[in-house]
């Protein structure tokens, strides 16, 4: 049985709120090893929040997340993360190579310097994304697609078992999009687990093996062919659960007086 191995992601009854407004409500999700999961849903459905909570950047109000059977703070080096492009200061004085080297920082202790081997490995990762000729360019001088390739090279340099990516296809050209898809499938074939926030419904079924349909609640999770139905999509994109998002937050206000769950 596979159950003997801990799952890469196990989310149990997860509720996350921003300023007492729930963004995710009672999410249960188990992702098996080697899955290539796309998270789809309308704007403000909590897609990025889900990823950030899995990363441990946002503290949940309720529920827990286990990464490879452990608390997510413990297994952080096993997760590779590709943030949204807007979260980065592109004018910062770093080169493409510097950015990829950051992928090795998680494996290098505090106060320690980056080794020659790390450098070589970073160069290999750049090469794999066809970005080696741009290694010494300032990151802001690259095109959107090239920047995204550098980000993926950094993710590769992290050598993680689980990858979380926040809209990697945002603002990239068709060629880059194709090479990102190839990379995702290649990583999956190596037995890695990937969870990717995606916004383009027309390609969702083709790019991902599994889909998670999200809108405050997890509407559905399963194989793309089974979940990608008109009925479920209608349910996901059909509008917010207004009552849940407005009333549901009230319990956070006086949390200390309410019975613990």
């Amino acid at each position: 049985m596979k159950a003997s191995l801990p799952f890469p992601i196990e989310i149990h009854d997860l509720t996350v709120a921003y300023q007492q407004k729930p963004v995710l409500y009672g999410i249960d999700l188990v992702v098996e090893e080697g899955s290539l999961v796309g998270i789809i849903g309308p704007n403000g459905a909590g897609k990025s929040t889900l990823i950030k909570t899995v990363m441990g950047m946002i503290k949940p109000e309720d529920g827990y997340i286990k990464i490879f059977g452990e608390k997510n703070t413990k297994s952080i080096t096993r997760i590779g993360y590709v943030p949204q492009r807007e979260s980065v200061d592109w004018d910062f004085p770093v080169t493409a190579m510097d950015v990829v080297l950051m992928g090795r920082f998680g494996h290098t202790g505090w106060f320690q310097k980056i080794s020659k081997r790390d450098r070589n490995f970073a160069a290999e990762c750049l090469e794999q994304m066809n970005m080696l000729p741009f290694a010494n360019r300032q990151i802001g001088n690259l095109s959107g697609g090239q920047q995204q390739r550098v980000f993926l090279a950094r993710a590769l340099a992290q050598q993680s078992d689980l990858y979380l990516m926040d809209e990697p296809f945002e603002g990239v050209d068709a060629v880059t999009e194709k090479s990102i898809v190839d990379l995702l499938k290649q990583l999956r074939d190596q037995g890695k687990t990937l969870m990717v926030v995606h916004h383009d419904l027309s390609t969702a079924q083709e790019y991902f093996d599994q889909l998670a349909l999200l809108n405050l609640r997890l509407v559905a999770y399963g194989n793309s062919s089974e979940v990608f139905t008109n009925d479920l999509l209608q349910k996901t994109y059909g509008g917010k659960l207004t009552v849940l998002s407005e009333i549901g937050g009230r319990k956070f206000k006086d949390r200390q007086h309410l019975p613990k769950s």
């Binding site: 080096t77 200061d89 004085p93 950051m102 920082f105 998680g106």
Partner: protein, 509 residues
């Protein structure tokens, strides 16, 4: 010590009222000019020295005077320190923050002063650091719990703390009989007041900053560039931010002595901003910024000493501003002058290419039967006056693209006095290339990008100058080596270009 003997003598005269003072702070820029004429607070280094400027220059750079040595070491260290710190402040976009912090330390200095009763105690440092942190905390609280944006929160904290500091210091001054507290030293800095006992805090601060940055270089780098990624690999981003604020506060406090509250943020921001013009690597930026900080400190001191009446702190700031302006104008990659020169060169190249293209078209009208043509035909084609065409031809001749032949123009039955123009082989080559680029691009637009044939000319006029040989090969390949453009005119082939100055392109091939 020269410094310690003078520090007590310069204080606020009792009759100058607070409102008068505050007004002056509001008009600080004017005050700067004013202070040059009347030595106000920002004082020059040594007013006593006489002699020619050469003597003074020699005396300055020989570092003989012991009190001078202390001042120079202090200035150099502070310059380096602020430069290093500034590298992080500027790249993290905390410049306004540095400014706020430098003003927010003032109440702490006043309280530290009243507790320790002397100007050179660690109590002052601690008080200032605490006060600075309090300012920072208030900013983040305001940001979190009100609708206030961070710039207004900074503005509020900056002015409120500054006002409080001035009130406290003025009160202190009057209550102690004005003997010990020298408000202006903290506002505008005073190099003369710098003595050996001021050096340890400065050195400690520099050590902390440089050791911290060497050890934590990669952590600070990643949390500045991409905080969410830094969090994802388990770095305590907020703690690192706090650490930088702490070092910043410490750095500001130790520099107050030299440039004062009002100008210390200039020392932080200007050298780092200058370096950012020159490099795009973090470590290069830090080294350069430290160097420029130290350099402007020394230069500022030197000019203040040389002129005998310029206040040292503002002179240092002006020196680093001048260094910034020099780099802004002349930096090889991003400088305004080099890029202006480059664009002028490009403009000239385009003008030449357009003239040559017109020459080709004139020759084409004669079916390439003639090797030279009258200048008037060229001015008609270019729709320009004879004078302008004269200049364009001169330009071609200067670059060896054309020659003038004195008239034998009877053949054309036109103006006898007309000058004849003939292209040189290299001129012919460039002309052919431009025509080829133009027509190839027109063909590409009509065939592959479904443009209407009468819409392609204007675009091709621009593209022809920037189409590289590689792109030309590519275009020729996808259009399968075409010979005719959308208007039925010949596209010169590589053969025509290489064959050089002959009878024009051969339609036979």
């Amino acid at each position: 010590m020269v410094g310690s003997s003078r520090i007590g003598n310069i204080f606020l005269s009792p009759d100058s009222t607070l409102s008068n003072r505050t007004l002056r702070f509001l008009f600080f820029p004017f005050l700067l000019i004013y202070s040059i004429q009347t030595p106000l607070g920002a004082e020059q280094i040594f007013a006593s020295d006489q002699g020619t400027w050469i003597h003074r220059a020699i005396r300055f750079w020989s570092f003989e005077d012991p009190s001078m040595q202390v001042i120079l070491i202090g200035v150099l260290l502070i310059g380096i320190n602020c430069g290093l710190m500034g590298g992080y402040v500027v790249t993290r976009r905390l410049s306004m923050f540095g400014d706020t912090l430098s003003h927010a330390v003032l109440p702490g200095i006043a309280i530290g002063y009243s507790l320790s009763r002397s100007g050179k105690e660690w109590g002052l440092m601690i008080g200032a650091t605490i006060s600075g942190f309090l300012g920072v905390a208030i900013i983040s609280l305001l940001k979190k719990y009100t609708k206030m944006k961070v710039d207004s929160a900074m503005g509020l904290v900056l002015s409120a703390f500054y006002a409080l500091g001035i009130c406290l210091l003025t009160h202190l001054q009057q209550s102690t009989g004005g003997g010990q507290v020298n408000l202006e030293n903290y506002l505008f800095g005073s190099l003369v007041g710098l003595s050996e006992s001021d050096l340890p805090p400065i050195i400690t601060c520099l050590c902390l900053v440089s050791v911290g940055f060497i050890l934590l270089h990669k952590e600070i780098l990643v949390s500045g560039f991409d905080p969410s990624f830094a969090r994802s690999i388990g770095l305590p981003v907020d703690f690192i931010q706090l650490l930088i604020w702490g070092l910043l506060a410490f750095c500001i406090v130790s520099s107050l002595q030299i440039v004062g509250v009002v100008l210390v943020s200039a020392l932080l921001i200007i050298p780092a901003a200058t370096s950012w013009l020159l490099t795009y690597r973090m470590n290069h930026l830090l080294i350069l910024s430290a160097f420029l900080g130290g350099l402007s400190g020394l230069l500022g001191c030197f000019f203040s000493f040389l002129t005998n009446h310029l206040p040292a702190g503002p002179t240092i700031v002006l020196c680093s501003t001048i260094l910034f302006l020099i780099m802004l104008l002349f930096s090889p990659t991003k400088g305004m002058v080099p890029s202006w020169l480059r664009s002028r060169k490009r403009g000239n190249k385009i003008r030449i290419e357009n003239t040559l293209k017109a020459c080709y078209q004139v020759l084409e009208e004669f079916d390439f039967k003639k090797q030279c043509f009258p200048q008037s035909l060229l001015s008609r084609r270019r729709r320009k006056s004879d004078g302008e065409i004269e200049q364009e031809i001169d330009n071609l001749i200067r670059h060896g693209y054309a020659t003038r032949i004195k008239s034998s123009s009877k053949k054309f039955g036109e103006n006898i006095s007309d000058t004849m123009i003939s292209l040189t082989p290299s001129g012919w080559e460039v002309a052919c290339r431009m025509i080829r680029n133009h027509r190839l691009w027109e063909l590409y637009l009509t065939k592959k990008a479904s443009y209407a044939p009468d819409h392609v000319h204007d675009d091709a006029e621009k593209i022809e100058h920037v189409l590289g040989e590689q792109a030309v090969r590519h275009l020729e390949r996808i259009l399968s080596n075409p010979r005719l453009d959308p208007h039925g005119k010949l596209i010169p082939s590589q053969d025509d270009i290489e064959r050089g100055w002959t009878t024009g392109p051969s339609a036979a091939n």
